[in-house]
Symmetry: C2
Subunit: 179 residues, 2 copies
C-alpha cells in the first residue's frame, strides 16, 4: 500500500570538471527510492565543451525525472586556486541547469552529507557507496561520484523529513517551501 | 564607402560575480565599431540567481547582436581559493551562454589584452577605459567592467587582423575559422 505522504523527487549533483555525479531519488517520508544515477564522464579537451556536456545532460535528466529540488555539495576549500576556479565553472554549469528550470537549489557541506548517510563526517567514499546501496536497496553499489550525488539527495530528504516532523509537532512552518 | 572586407561581430565578456562586463563590437579589418556595452550589475543574494542573470542577459545580447565569436579574459590567479571558486561559477555561466549558442570562445590573458589596447601589460583600468573611448570613437568612456569586456573584444579583432595579414602574405590558413 502506498503511503499517503506526498513524494518529492530530489536531484543530487556532485559536480566535477572530469566526472560529475548525478543521482535522482524519490522520497516519501522516510521511504527512499532510487530513480536514476550516473557518473557522467566528461569529454577531454576544452573546459567550455565539458560545461556544455554537464549542462545539457542535466537538462535531459531534469526533463525526464522532473525533480522538485536540487541538492548539491558545498565545495571543499581547495588549497589550489586554479583547481577551485575550474571546479567553480563545473559547479556553475550544474547550478545553472537547476535555476534555468526554476528548481530551488539546496547546499550541504560534505561533512553534513556524510554525517547524514554514514553517521560520521569523515567517512570514506567506499562507505558512502555502501550506504547508498543499503539505503536505496540497490543490488550493487553505485560508482563513487554517483554515490556522492545520491548522498546529497538523501541528505536533503533527511533534513526535509526532520523539518516536517518539527512542523507537525509545533504546528508552525519552518521553511517557505514545504515538500 | 564601406570596406569590402567582411565584418565580424565580437562579444567580449569580463565575468564577475558582482558585476559582469559585456561589450560587443563589429570589426572590419582595422575598422572597429561599438555595437553595445554594459556593466551588468548582478542582484545581491544567492549566487545561483546571479548566475541565472549572467546567463539570461547574455542570451538576450547574443540573440540581438549575433556575435561570431566570444572573447573572454583568462582569469587572474586569485590567491584566495574561495574567490576563485565564486569567479569560476560566474565565468562558467558566461562560457555556457556562448557554447550553448555554438559560438566559439577565445581566451586572452589580462596582460595580452592590455598590451593590445594600451601598449603595455600593466595598464590601469582608467587607461583601458580611455583607450576604449578613443578606439571605438565614443563620446564618453565606458564604465570599468564594460571597458574591460570591450578590450577583450578589441584584442580578438587585433589578433584576427594579424592572422589575416599573415595568411595573405603566406597564402596559408592559420586558423580553421577564418573571419
Amino acid at each position: 500500500m502506498q503511503s499517503s505522504k506526498p513524494a518529492i523527487t530530489i536531484l543530487g549533483i556532485d559536480p566535477g570538471s572530469q566526472i560529475t555525479g548525478v543521482g535522482v531519488i524519490e522520497a516519501r517520508g522516510s521511504e527512499l527510492k532510487h530513480v536514476y544515477s550516473e557518473s557522467l564522464k566528461l569529454p577531454k579537451g576544452e573546459l567550455a565543451f565539458r560545461l556544455k556536456e554537464i549542462y545539457s545532460r542535466l537538462q535531459v535528466i531534469i526533463a525526464e525525472t522532473k525533480p522538485d529540488v536540487v541538492s548539491i555539495e558545498k565545495v571543499f576549500l581547495a588549497k589550489n586556486p586554479q583547481s577551485a576556479l575550474v571546479l567553480g565553472h563545473a559547479r556553475g554549469a550544474a547550478v545553472l541547469a537547476a535555476v534555468n528550470n526554476d528548481i530551488p537549489v539546496c547546499e550541504y557541506s560534505a561533512t553534513e552529507i556524510k554525517k547524514t548517510v554514514v553517521g560520521r563526517g569523515r567517512a570514506d567514499k567506499a562507505q558512502v557507496q555502501h550506504m547508498m546501496r543499503i539505503l536505496l536497496g540497490l543490488r550493487v553499489a553505485p560508482p563513487e561520484d554517483a554515490a556522492d550525488a545520491l548522498a546529497a539527495a538523501v541528505c536533503y530528504a533527511h533534513h526535509c523529513q526532520l523539518t516536517q516532523a518539527i512542523e507537525k509537532q509545533t504546528g508552525s512552518t519552518i521553511r517557505g517551501r514545504s515538500a
